[in-house]
Amino acid sequence: MTLTATHLLALSPPILVCTTAILVMLAIAWRRHHTGIAIVTVVGLNLALLSLIGVGRMAPLAAPMLAIDGLAIFAAVLILVAALACATLAHAYLVHHTGPREEFYLLLLCATAGGMVLSASTHLATLFFGLELLSIPLYGMLAYVYGERRSLEAGVKYLVLSAAATTFLLFGMALLYAETGHLDFAGLAARLGGDIGAWGLAGAALMLMGLGFKLSVVPFHMWTPDVYEGGPGPAATFLASASKVAVFVVLLRLVVAAPAFEDGWLHNVLAVLAILTMLVGNLLALTQSNLKRLLGYSSIAHFGYLLTALVIGDGLSIEASGVYLVTYLLTTLGAFGVVTLISSPHVAGSGGTDAAGLHHYRGLFWRRPYLTAVLTITLLSMAGIPFTAGFIGKFYIIALGVEAERWWLVGAVIVGSAIGLFYYLRVMVTLFLAEAGMQRRDAPENWAVQAGGVVVLGAAALVIVLGIYPAPMIAWVRSIGVLAGG
């Protein structure tokens, strides 16, 4: 197949993001200007987002090794929104940074492009390419404040473990190729449909491991809390939102395409992993006293819930994963956004570290009512309480489980949510308590005026609006399901 103009047009979103990255690079070489670079980045991302409207009309379309279908566009929208939020938060975060600030946006743009390629890939080569393009800039982003021991530790930890996971992934791909002689998903699925040999199974399992690492599925979750805790706020936000969405979408694509997952032990393994992930994630979060670590564990649990959709793999599952991903993304952006705004180092008296200890948040409500309201709403949404988008997501997951009559999974979701409530409530009530003589941490006075404030307020507003009136979101996600061919 040769590339035509249509293909180029269909690929314009990642192309636009890459172009912006090059522009940013050149601009940095020419002259450093923090706000200017941030504006270029945001404009580029917005253009890519706009171009998706046009691309949406052309979908579904198959470019070489990439599918521009509903799922890819859906993922691209989520990734771009997350990247926009991160860029905005990064500006607030880096304003007082003493080292070079502008390269962060460069890394962010590269990772964004990687995520978009990854979620559209239909070939193991593009999958690998996208995954690495997503991960490698993340090493840099996580260790960006390298003067800070924890940030450096987070970056190195992620680098080492992620590299190990990548080798698993590559080995799995090699085994699959040896078994089937194909590298594209369709070919793989066709060959694996019948009798899948031992090597094929091993390959699939190894690939699952590699991707499971990125999603921090238990037992590949060890890195998550440390990296979330140590990484700078915007980088952790990107890792928790865009990166996970992209990897999940490609896993969804694989599972839906490959019948190897429909029956047999791989399927059971996936189910067990889902249950383990929900329970372990929630249990480990119980005793955390650091908000970023707590959010890390909570995101592990959320991907446990999401894996339910993969295990069931038919009926409502694409719709359910779509809805859940949207709600998860909004919630995560809101929660991490607030943490980033509050914890931004270099605010007076901080000593240069991110403030994420729960005691920093004590009584926040009486100083910053709106910021606290945002955090409360996002926490409620994570707990799946009505009036927030999280409830719609949880509703979908439980509905999916009940429809497929997977009672173990449903039971685990319920137990997981009950455990989860405990720590969400603990954080929430901390925000409202007030004690004299406590350590105070604060967002800059004019936080709401800054773009970062707009981001978190917007996320919280969307969480509420979609929680009360989810019909538009459901309609949008359904249109994707149709485009992706079910």
Partner: protein, 514 residues
């Protein structure tokens, strides 16, 4: 649209209270009071102008009839609607909510001095959620409000509660309350979804509408499992004994307004849920389950009464009496005769008044004595103005003295259940004796006996006096002339009895409702 406003008014009022906080402490209080008075006035207006007799209940299979109905599409993907409806039962309970809401605002007038605006935001949102529960007949919407009202209640207990001793902190109590009710609520969600998908499998359409789902044909075992999902959720909230653990802590640690709402209204949502959903949706399964439920009710009566006798904390004592009273309600509901069901409604209203009265009184005691420990009280009669006198009246109501509404409620429940379950009634009657014991024990230990101190405490002020007098007046009014209440709920209870009771007469029914 009026029905929608009934839900919306408390929510808007709450937001106004929050914002009015910046003008001082008084504006939020007055706004909250005005909000609840408007709510109460609308409900009473509906009561006097509406017709709740619904004519003769029609033949089997006829669509349910409501006195008022309001529906608008919400999530078309699953056939979910904002579907509100009002009948006699919900009307009475909403009026109760409005009235107790006014009391809750009044009784926190001096008790709550910090973060007044935010307190009233939470208080009014609880009430808004409860009104939503009483009005929603779309199962999704019902669940929505059911879960939502927990959040403000949590904050109410966690932020304005009293921390007890021995590690019984208010946050712990609030968390316990939340996890108990939320987790059991999720079981109900699973049941709701199960019902919806069974219906979907039969008809190919998604709907959460109450009337439609009632027609769903269910196999016996499915119906039993789904019914249990509903029952567990309601049993936790009622509470029924093995799952009552949150109640004493929550009551003891909550501020007075929280206790009044909790005992007066929140517990009633569970009984309402059973009457409205668990019984009519699964009549056969409920009928089969009735002996178990009644046994649980009996256990509750004795367990609550016995534990009440041994409490030192006055609010914990009242909390345990609530468990005992709710045991009667549970028996009445599962007896399913018209008389017993009418008794249940009367009992719910009466218990709301008497428990609210007792909680308000213990709140006032706490304001004066700064303790809720009965070991530090005693000999208070004559030193508190008219407060002990009121206590005596409400204690008498709580033990079911003839002339009070509680007596009529218990009497109707026992009388109505006798034809169905004579032994249960006989045993339950013994519980009445225990009620007398714990009630008199309360009086004796707090107001009589050797005095612990000398001082004379402040008499009731005008606000407190009016509150208690109004409550007492209502207890006596419904105790002496309950007919208006019974007339209002008669048709609704007849409907429940028709759906539920019909099964017991003809056991060999096909599937679905008769």
């Amino acid at each position: 649209m009026t029905l929608f406003w009934l839900i919306l008014i408390p929510f808007i009022g709450g937001l106004l209270c929050w914002q009015a906080d910046r003008f001082g402490d008084l504006p939020p209080r007055w706004i909250a009071l005005a909000t609840m008075l408007i709510e109460l006035a609308i409900t009473l207006g509906l009561w006097f102008h509406g017709d709740y007799h619904l004519g003769n209940v029609g033949m089997a299979g006829e669509a349910l009839r409501w006195s008022m109905e309001w529906r608008v599409a919400w999530i078309p993907r699953f056939g979910i609607e904002v579907h509100l409806a009002l009948d006699g039962l919900s009307l009475v309970l909403i009026a109760l909510t409005g009235f107790l809401g006014v009391l809750a605002v009044l009784c926190s007038w001096h008790e709550i001095v910090r973060r007044v605006g935010f307190f009233h935001l939470n208080l009014l949102w609880i009430l808004g959620g409860v009104v939503g529960v009483f009005l929603a007949i779309d199962l999704f919407l019902f669940f929505f409000f059911w879960e939502m009202m927990l959040v403000p209640m949590y904050f109410l207990i966690a932020l304005w509660g009293h921390s007890g001793s021995e590690g019984r902190t208010r946050i712990r109590a609030a968390t316990k309350f939340f996890i108990y009710t939320q987790a059991s609520g999720l079981l109900m969600l699973v049941s709701i979804l199960g019902l919806v998908f069974v219906h979907h499998a039969h008809t190919g359409e998604y709907t959460f509408a109450y009337a439609t789902l009632m027609q769903t044909p269910l196999s016996e075992s499915t119906a039993m499992w789904l019914m249990l999902g509903f029952f567990v959720a309601f049993a936790v909230k009622l509470p029924v004994v093995p799952v009552h653990g949150w109640l004493p802590d929550a009551h003891a640690q909550a501020p007075t307004a929280g206790s009044v709402d909790l005992a007066g209204i929140l517990l009633k949502t569970a009984a309402y849920g059973m009457l409205r959903f668990a019984l009519p949706l699964f009549p056969e399964a409920s009928q089969a389950f009735a002996p178990v439920a009644m046994t649980l009710g009996l256990i509750g009566i004795f367990y609550g009464a016995l534990l009440a006798c041994g409490q030192q904390d006055i609010k914990r004592l009242i909390a345990y009496t609530s468990i005992a009273h709710m045991g009667f309600v549970l028996i009445g509901i599962y007896a399913g005769t018209q008389l017993a069901l009418q008794g249940v409604v009367l009992m719910m209203v009466a218990h709301a008044f008497s428990a609210a009265g007792l909680f308000i009184l213990s709140g006032q005691l706490y304001e004066r004595l700064h303790t809720r420990d009965m070991r530090e009280m005693g000999g208070l009669w004559g030193r508190l103005g008219s407060l002990p006198g009121f206590s005596l009246c409400f204690v008498a109501a709580s033990l079911g003295m003839p002339g009070t509404a509680n007596f009529l409620g218990e009497f109707l429940i026992l009388f109505g259940s006798f034809p169905v379950a004579p032994w249960v009634v006989v045993i339950a009657s013994v519980g009445l004796v225990l009620a007398a014991i714990y009630s008199l024990l309360l009086m004796q230990r707090v107001y009589f006996g050797p005095p612990q101190g000398e001082g004379i405490f402040a008499d009731l002020d005008q606000r407190e006096y009016v509150m208690l007098l109004a409550l007492l007046g209502l207890v006596l009014l419904f105790g002496l002339y309950p007919q208006p209440l019974l007339d209002t709920t008669g048709a609704a209870m007849g409907e429940v009895q028709r759906l539920f009771g019909a099964v017991s007469q003809s056991t060999i029914l096909p599937m679905g409702i008769p």
